[in-house]
């Protein structure tokens, strides 16, 4: 227990420091302590998620803190994604077939 306490001790402080820097960098403020705590928790989850993506990515991408690190995945989707899913494209569109490429 004492070991765990010792190890776990500095972590929240470090996270809060990182979060403070994030708030300064991206000009974020939260209107009440409950909201702050919620965003801190989301931020921590997102850093872990970024680390997971980093391990899974097969390319050279780097994942980490971004302006969206205090948003849940759902909030990010709602704020920046398209609500409607395109079920079909309009009738008037046409495909350019690959055998026409040579003409240009």
């Amino acid at each position: 227990d004492s070991l765990l306490t010792k190890d776990a001790g500095p972590r929240p402080l470090e996270l809060k420091e990182v979060f403070k820097l994030f708030q300064i960098r991206f000009n974020r403020s939260y209107w009440n302590p409950a909201e702050y705590t919620r965003r801190l928790s989301i931020f921590a989850h997102n850093l872990a998620q970024a680390q997971r993506l980093q391990q899974e990515d097969l390319g050279t991408a780097e994942f980490g803190e971004t302006p969206f690190s205090d948003l849940t995945e759902e909030e990010f989707g709602q704020l920046y994604g398209q609500e409607r899913s395109p079920e079909r494209t309009p009738n008037m569109t046409k495909k350019v077939e690959s055998n026409t490429w040579g003409e240009s």
Partner: protein, 246 residues
């Protein structure tokens, strides 16, 4: 198909990175970027077209609630052209505005729009010959993206669930030798060099690689080939007058 192609290197073709802010208008920004890039290439004429006109004059008139690039092209076709960004500037708020398409002079026109083949080699060829196109991708991984080439699998980024439109401005291949990097305070070995797409986002120049990001080219990463659309730009065609009696 050339080995690399980057339309950002051509002078005055790609405009500066925009920021959609709280308005969900990636579809309009991508389409506007596509139209003005093609216009600049074809006519060597520097135009900045109005994103706000696309938002206000789209069929449903609530452009900040999302849409698709073909909505933008249909709006341009219905309004017989597009005004300039200077005359009809982007507001960046979510409230609906009245369509002012008739008020301003048009600076660019399209004759048609096209969905390209979903073959990545064919897309690269079209891009190299004609200019930047729009694509719609699954944006899930972009929430945590900082830089580099994203190479995902269908399980980590579902190519069927596309929800964000951007401008495809080029492609290339990552050089060998840049294979180590420091991420989240620990370094790791990089994998082989990889071919990639260069995409222009609309989340401001401080996001990603100066507003851009790169996706692996060759495995339909995040659905990049699902909806490759482009306008066909030209000046308005005057209808031929007929003298035939009714």
């Amino acid at each position: 198909v050339p080995r690399t192609c980057d339309w950002r290197k051509a002078k005055n073709i790609i405009s500066s990175v925009k920021n959609q802010g709280s308005c969900k208008c990636c579809w309009a920004m991508a389409a506007a970027d596509n139209i003005q890039a093609l216009w600049r290439i074809k006519h060597q004429q520097f135009v900045d077209v109005s994103v706000q006109e696309l938002l206000d004059c789209e069929r449903c008139g609530n452009g900040c609630n999302g849409g698709f690039v073909w909505d933008a092209y249909l709006t341009v076709l219905n309004n017989s052209g597009l005004a300039s960004e200077k005359d009809y500037p982007f507001q960046g708020d979510r409230k609906p505005h009245r369509c002012l398409a008739k008020k301003y002079k048009k600076v660019a026109w399209i004759q048609d729009f096209t969905m390209l083949s979903n073959n990545e080699q064919a897309i690269a060829h079209y891009l190299a010959v004609h200019g930047p196109i729009t694509v719609t991708i699954n944006m899930k991984l972009l929430q945590h993206y900082q830089k580099g080439v994203i190479k995902a699998t269908p399980s980590s980024c579902d190519p069927r669930q596309v929800d964000h439109s951007v401008l495809l401005v080029g492609f290339g291949k990552e050089k060998e030798g840049m294979q180590t990097g420091t991420v989240l305070s620990h370094s790791r070995k990089r994998r082989h060099s990889s071919p990639y797409w260069i995409l222009k986002n609309s989340w401001g120049a401080h996001w990603g690689e100066k507003g851009y990001f790169r996706l692996y080219r060759g495995n339909n990463t995040c659905g990049v080939t699902k909806y490759p659309f482009t306008a066909q730009v030209d000046s308005p065609v005057k209808k031929a007058r007929t003298s035939c009696p009714p």
